[in-house]
């Protein structure tokens, strides 16, 4: 597939990195030549330097025969303009734009083909904010991901001594929770994946990923570790885009303090926020943290643009008595260094936000793609299509499907519709070896390694070879 990515910032670079390893032709466009040079050395991509909204630059980038345009520059205006140019001049079929401002989303008619011609818009800041919000409502989890419109959730939890399931084989789970259907999708021990079998024993320190209906999540989590007290006091370091959005969305439910260094930014934050307390100061200032009661803080969230600062301030907060810490960290090597140590949860904004983007790039009917463990593993939500003859999955029992090793089918969400097509309910099925997949089922597949994704996608494609 020929893909043009506009903007080689954090988001653009991670998308490029993810897609370049999947045999796509990628062209990166950015105004900064140095930026592009760095990426060209690291990735297998072509680069064009120039204004992303310019027709000539798009032409140079090969817009004429490209399949997909991903406009993720810093500026909404550039992204909108580029989509319009790509549609009008080059008739580029799929256009995705990053829109930070919610204003355009409120007027969807502006984005249709007659106007800005944005096929699909994403707001990475909002996605990251939602992700952190979910982590706050499940304070014990490392990751909380939702599938099938939130019917099924995948959670990553670090097993702690004292959880009822710890030290027991997985098959005991059925006796612990007879009413709850849960599937342990993967276990990582010392960073290495283990295929969970019935007699695998969970030991303290394991990262356990399990799938369950969203309503059962809390119950499942209790089995794996003692549940923590609910969060009440939250301190956010960094009042940038994500920090502000997060503070605004949780200020009514929690006691929120927001730290920001820039005086003008603090004025703006304090004007826009109703209940959160905005503090001017450095998040690594010990005195300030102490005065603001860091030792009574339930969660310290470091969300500045600088990942080193985030690591330092979160570590400091942890040492001074914050109960849990969360930090935005993009670099994978840093995550391995600090997660589980001073920092309880490391969130990679790039990994989280590109999931939605990747779903559009992937073939077949991929509804959602979520990266787990900073992109090492992936969970896909795919809709099974076609008849028994055409498809390699529809009408087959799980044991008959030739899944590559390392991939497991975690759950199936079956839509029950009335005769007039109205959706009645979602049924969550935890598949057994004899469960038969039907057409239109949403299948959640868990891949312990990213390279398996392509094979799984192929499996679900309606094969023309059968015709």
């Amino acid at each position: 597939m020929k893909i043009i990515i506009l903007g080689a910032g954090q988001v653009g670079a991670s998308v490029a990195e993810n897609l370049a390893s999947e045999a796509n032709d990628i062209t990166l466009v950015d105004t900064s030549a140095e930026h592009l040079e760095l990426l060209r050395d690291r990735l297998e991509v072509r680069t064009v330097c120039g204004n992303a909204a310019s027709p000539y630059v798009l032409h140079d980038a090969g817009a004429e025969d490209a399949d997909l345009l991903i406009a993720v520059t810093q500026s909404d205006q550039t992204n909108l303009c580029a989509c319009k140019v790509a549609k009008t001049l080059f008739n580029l079929p799929t256009r995705i734009a990053r829109l930070r401002s919610g204003d355009f989303v409120d007027y969807p008619e502006l984005l249709n083909d007659d106007n800005f011609a944005v096929g699909f818009s994403i707001c990475p800041e909002q996605i990251v904010t939602d992700h952190i919000k979910r982590l706050i409502s499940f304070p014990e989890a490392l990751q909380v991901l939702e599938f099938a419109d939130g019917v099924v959730s995948l959670i990553g939890v670090r097993a702690f001594a004292g959880g009822p399931l710890i030290g027991h084989p997985l098959k005991a789970i059925r006796y612990h929770m007879p009413n709850v259907e849960v599937r342990i999708a993967a276990i990582y021990r010392n960073g290495e994946p283990i295929m969970p079998e019935g007699d695998t024993v969970i030991v303290p320190g394991d990262e356990v990923f399990c799938l369950a209906a969203t309503v059962h999540i809390r119950q499942v989590m209790r089995e794996l570790r003692r549940s923590d007290q609910p969060m009440r006091r939250i301190m956010i370091a960094g009042g940038g885009n994500i920090g502000f959005r997060l503070a605004r969305s949780i200020e009514n439910d929690y006691n929120v303090k927001l730290l920001e260094l820039n005086p003008r930014r603090t004025e703006m934050l304090a004007t826009q926020l109703d209940r959160a307390l905005v503090l001017r100061g450095d998040s690594t200032d010990e005195k300030l943290l102490e005065n603001e009661g860091i030792d009574e803080t339930d969660l310290f969230v470091a969300l500045t643009n600088n990942e080193e600062d985030n690591i330092m301030s979160a570590s400091l907060a942890k040492r001074m008595g914050a109960r849990r810490t969360l930090a935005l960290i993009n670099r994978k090597s840093y995550v391995d260094l600090v997660q589980g140590g001073p920092i309880d949860i490391a969130v990679s904004p790039a990994q989280i936000s590109i999931g939605t983007l990747l779903a559009h790039v992937r073939r077949g009917d991929v509804v959602a793609v979520h990266s787990l463990r900073r992109g090492a593993a992936e969970a896909l939500e795919i809709v099974a299509h076609g008849s028994e003859k055409e498809s390699k999955v529809v009408g087959k029992a799980i044991e008959q499907i030739q899944l590559p090793r390392g991939a497991t089918i975690g759950a199936i969400v079956r839509e029950h519709r009335r005769e007039d097509g109205r959706l009645v309910r979602h049924e969550v099925i935890m598949p057994h070896h004899d469960t038969v997949i039907r057409s239109n089922d949403h299948v959640i597949v868990f891949c312990t390694h990213k390279r398996l994704v392509r094979q799984v996608e192929k499996l679900f494609q309606v094969g023309f070879t059968f015709l």
């Binding site: 005086p263 603090t266 304090a270 004007t271 307390l277 905005v278 503090l279 001017r280």
Partner: protein, 485 residues
């Protein structure tokens, strides 16, 4: 040497317009043949001629008004116009004396409603119309009217407007052109007055009483055509109409204007003062009803609610009409409604006091200081309706509120020194500076200000103008800095 001729020129113009406005009661007087037309004829003649002479003499010195000119013009207008407003009263009641007639005219133009006259029921209709017509003109503002009809005041118009309109947010304007803003406010004001008059008439008042009381209510004045004020009619529908329109007049006219122009109720929902305005009033009515029921002030719950609701609204919005001698209530209840008058009316309304907006800013500033002492690093701007209040405005509000209290204390001491008892002195000052009208004690709703001596009356005339011009406009002109070159 600064020239004051341009100011005098503009004043001549204003005095002429004021003279022309007097033709309204003259027409009524001739129509009804009520015997007061000679008084008005004299007044119009004197007023118009004075204005014309002043204007002609200074015509050659006309130029755009500068910032200090604006203050001087507004202050001088408010001091001089009542002199002319008093002429018909003096001409009709020769025994009244200038000091008392001037007080009555000031009370009229500042929409206060404190009166020294009795035997109102037997006065000619045109005299009573003139008294309340002054309420009506002064309520929205003479200068605003002049700016609306005479664009020739030029650039100075905005400055004048700021000096007269009672609001802490002096910079906000509804339309790009100040003339349009003034026109919009006056049209809204006229519509509200007409609606009020028709409602009063439907509620059972005769045509003239409806007109007089519509002027009083829209301008939040307080004069009535009856000695017993609104209590004369003893009618629940009339009281309800007055309550409703007093509440409307107590809101910001700019909000009414926007709602009218956009034909949508959204401006009301966005006005940050409105929830507090109604909230405090509703709470006060509820608490006073409970309190007075326990003290058996009235025979039954129905009449308690009726009198409490009427007087809370009437006194706190600075209207000042009464249906009952509330000085019979326990002192706590009297003080409460008097104090409410210091801050209930919204900015940009025709009411008095420091205005709800300033009260909200003060309260938020206090809260901000508390937060700041607990969290030294906290950034906590004072916000109003989602917008930050800038430091200059905040300082102006703090300074104003301080001067407001200093004025009350000073004037109370002055009156006490002249021999008034402290309750009368204090309540008279508060009632005058808030432009409410009736006070407590000897100046309560059942009596009037006629019992005070000329010195006390003059002091209270000054207090009323001080309150109407929100202290600073008058104070600026009275400081040596203003006159120094």
């Amino acid at each position: 040497m600064r020239s004051y001729f341009p100011v005098l020129n503009a004043m001549g113009l204003i005095i002429m317009i004021f003279g022309l406005l007097m033709s309204f009661p003259i027409a009524i007087s001739y129509y009804l043949k009520d015997g007061a037309h000679i008084a008005f004829d004299t007044a119009v003649l004197i007023t118009f001629t004075s204005g014309l002479v002043l204007w002609l003499l200074t015509r050659g010195k006309r130029r755009d008004l500068r910032v200090p000119d604006g203050f001087l013009l507004v202050a001088a207008t408010w001091i001089v116009l009542p002199v002319f407003g008093a002429i018909p009263l003096m001409a009709y009641l020769p025994d009244l004396g200038f000091v008392y007639a001037y007080f009555e005219a000031v009370s009229g133009l500042t929409a206060t409603g404190a009166t020294v006259l009795s035997g109102l029921d037997d006065m000619p209709v045109s005299i009573n119309v003139w008294r309340t017509f002054m309420h009506w003109i002064g309520g929205m503002g003479v200068i605003v009217l002049v700016v609306a009809i005479l664009p020739l005041l030029g650039i100075g118009g905005r400055q004048l407007f700021k000096a007269e309109v009672p609001t802490p947010m002096k910079e906000s304007s509804l339309t790009p052109r100040i003339t349009e803003t003034a026109k919009g406010l006056w049209i809204t004001y006229i519509l509200l007055t007409v609606a009020c008059g028709i409602s009063l008439w439907l509620a059972g008042l005769d045509g003239w009483d409806a007109l007089i009381h519509a002027f009083t209510v829209a301008g939040l004045g307080g004069f009535s055509s009856k000695d017993a004020s609104l209590g004369h009619f003893n009618s629940v529908p009339v009281e309800i109409v007055v309550i409703v329109f007093a509440l409307l007049a107590g809101l910001n006219y700019a909000t009414h204007y926007l709602a009218l122009v956009r034909r949508s109720p959204r401006p009301y929902l966005r006005d940050p003062e409105i929830p507090f305005f109604f909230g405090v009033l509703a709470l006060s009515v509820a608490l006073l009803t409970v309190y007075l029921t326990q003290h058996n002030a009235h025979s039954d719950l129905g009449s308690t609610v009726r009198y409490v609701a009427f007087h809370v609204v009437s006194i706190s919005t600075s209207l000042g009409l009464a249906t009952y001698d509330y000085t019979m209530w326990p002192m706590f209840a009297q003080m409460w409604i008097l104090f409410l008058g210091s801050f209930i009316a919204c900015s940009g309304s025709t009411g008095g006091g420091i205005k709800m907006m300033r009260a909200m800013i003060l309260y938020k500033q206090v809260f901000r200081e508390i937060v700041r002492s607990l969290h030294p690093n906290a950034v906590h701007p004072v916000r109003l309706g989602g917008q930050p209040v800038s430091d200059p405005i905040l300082h102006a509000v703090l300074g104003f509120s301080f001067m407001y209290m200093v004025s009350i204390v000073t004037m109370t001491l002055v009156l006490a020194a002249s021999g008034l008892d402290i309750i009368t002195a204090f309540s008279a000052v508060v009632a005058c500076i808030n432009n409410t009208g009736p006070g407590l004690g000897a100046v309560g709703p059942a009596s009037n200000y006629a019992g005070l001596d000329p010195f006390q009356i003059s002091a209270l005339s000054f207090t009323m103008i001080l309150g109407r011009l929100e202290i600073f406009t008058l104070l600026v002109v009275l400081t040596p800095v203003f006159w120094r070159r």
